[in-house]
Symmetry: C2
Subunit: 342 residues, 2 copies
DNA sequence: GTGAAAGCGCTAACAC
DNA sequence: GTGTTAGCGCTTTCAC
């Protein structure tokens, strides 16, 4: 009983002295109305503050003007208000304001596959899914329902799927690796998360290729995203046991902070003995001592690109190509070596 | 054209060999059906994976199962992805997961009074409005439309309005002031924001009363929220010119960080010469040098309380009382004086 | 150029 | 107990 019974199309029609059809047509630029009638009706509608009811409109099989947002990365973390996962928090805000700028509503839908699903779930015009996994059940559900979607980061295992946007992960991975190399590191270890999403997989690919090109043996560690800082600190033990590499590239800020902490606790000095870099900037990276160099992702631009893609899809265009946004590398103390130290 | 034409009530009715009314009643526990029919219909519906269309249901004037969230504080900042405004980022996440836990969708609506409003805006079952202002146009709009709402922080100037929840600001303000006093501060300056919301106004009231009780002249500064760290640094000049107080209590973390920075740039040492505390923890507070003592708010619990209130309101209960959650004070170096320094 | 009428999927009177 | 039916507000044929 919560719905507002406000001004309806009937009220406008009566007031304007026309039929409801005329009102509908005037307001949606449909049909064949004289310019004069159109103008008049619009004037009356404005004056009355009429807004078409989205439900009724949606019911009649037009669009809802609303898109859903599913944060798979937070689903995996099992925590929708985690600390130090900046990029997602910022992504939600960015998506909301970008949606508003396009006259859309944004619904947050934590996990589509849990039951019961929130009622409006399947009425959305489309979805943004962040960081889908290999064989992601959310993707499967959307496809089965015939609901259009775009993804933040590609859908791993589906190179044909083109409706995605994200930072250019391959380019930024190379950026970080080059930076570390320029600072004197030959052997670089990679610490990735365990979620099988494009972020982890693409970085791994680039890393392995980089190692192959240089004929250095790769040193790859996997650490669950949810292990956070503590997990990173624990992993540092293994890294030290395996022989301290000249640099460690951790894909998440929390892992980077933990690894650095763990290394230093074991007497490994950063950046003198080894350097540490993070693939995703976060509070933990910025505020570790020494501060950890990191890639600053671009959730605002990415969210905008995704909404553009989604709108095109909803409009029926299917020539949509992936969009890549630019991440910036923020060099900080953790990779800054004194000239003397080289 | 985005809507999914899925299984409808008709399909279920046909399959179960009953009328659509029977299905509707069975699934909504209405009417007078035999237990057997009810069971049977439910079985068929489950088996077919039927979910009632939220739009059609909403149109027929039931509830939508969705609530809106308006972040007034970010509207004021003019930035929906600001850095270092932790509590709101966390509040969005908390509200989303608390909503899911109650089977509700959460829609983000950046600013209800900008036109055009997103289509679903007025179809929501209710709204959560964070930090409404004095004479807030969003509140006015919701009231005019007869849409129920609850607020994070009370509605200033409306002591009769009881549908809100928040941390107990008065208690936490006194907590901070006591802490500063215990650390040796008699004269304490307050730096509040300029948004006329309950947060700023309540803290100011408590502060003025505190000063009155102790017969010390109040020193009140106002600084726009959006001025951020730089604004705080600039304000430090005025504070020094007015005579360095024994402590400065800044309501926002960004202001606190700036003020401390500005003070130290002018040779005022923290915590030796003056102490700094923040009313809302944030990255800036945690990671300033020295680290700034701050109140850690409780967005998770507050969001839960607000959703409980809102659900009660939507269900028609009007005996709803404000809920207060607890903030924790995090003492850090900025207010930690060596015993010798006393 | 304009309007009457059907119907989207559902709920709730009201017959039977 | 169960089914028929009238809408909710809107878009969209299709007559006029």
């Amino acid at each position: 009983m919560a719905r507002t019974r406000g001004i309806t199309i009937k009220d406008v029609a009566r007031r304007a002295g026309v039929s409801i059809t005329a009102v509908s047509h005037a307001l949606n630029d449909k049909g064949t109305l004289s310019a004069a009638t159109r103008e008049h009706i619009r004037g009356v509608a404005d004056e009355m503050g009429y807004t078409a009811d989205a439900l009724a409109r949606g019911l009649r099989s037009s669009t809802m003007g609303a898109v859903g947002l599913v944060l798979r990365s937070l689903d995996a973390l099992g925590d929708y208000a985690p600390a130090g996962v900046d990029v997602f928090e910022r992504f939600v805000g960015a998506a909301a304001s970008q949606a508003l700028a396009r006259g859309l509503s944004l619904m947050l839908v934590p996990d589509l596959t849990r039951v019961p699903v929130p009622p409006l779930t399947f009425s959305m015009d489309g979805y943004i899914v962040t960081n889908p996994h290999v064989d992601d059940p959310v993707i499967a559900l959307l496809e089965q329902r015939g609901i259009r979607y775009v993804t933040y980061g590609g859908v791993p295992g589906r190179p044909d799927f083109r409706h995605w946007a994200s930072e250019d992960d391959a380019a930024s991975a190379r950026l970080v690796l080059s930076h570390l190399q320029a600072a004197g590191a030959r052997s670089i270890a990679l610490v990735r998360g365990t979620d099988p999403n494009a972020w982890n997989l693409d970085h791994q690919d680039v890393y392995l290729q980089w190692c192959a090109e240089r004929h250095v043996p790769p040193r790859l560690y996997e650490l669950p995203e949810r292990a956070g800082v503590d997990g990173g600190a624990a992993l540092a033990g293994r890294i030290v046991d395996d022989g301290v590499p000249e640099a460690v590239f951790c894909l998440t800020g929390r892992h980077a902070a933990g690894v650095q902490q763990g290394l230093m606790a074991r007497g490994v000095r950063v950046p003198e003995h080894t350097m540490v870099a993070a693939g995703s900037d976060s509070e933990h990276a910025r505020n570790s001592r020494p501060a950890i160099s990191a890639l600053e992702l671009n959730p605002v631009e990415s969210a905008g690109a995704l909404l553009d893609l989604l709108q095109a899809l909803i409009a029926g265009e299917d020539t949509v190509a992936p969009r890549r946004t630019k991440a910036r590398f923020r060099p900080r103390a953790s990779t800054r070596r004194q000239p003397a130290a080289r």
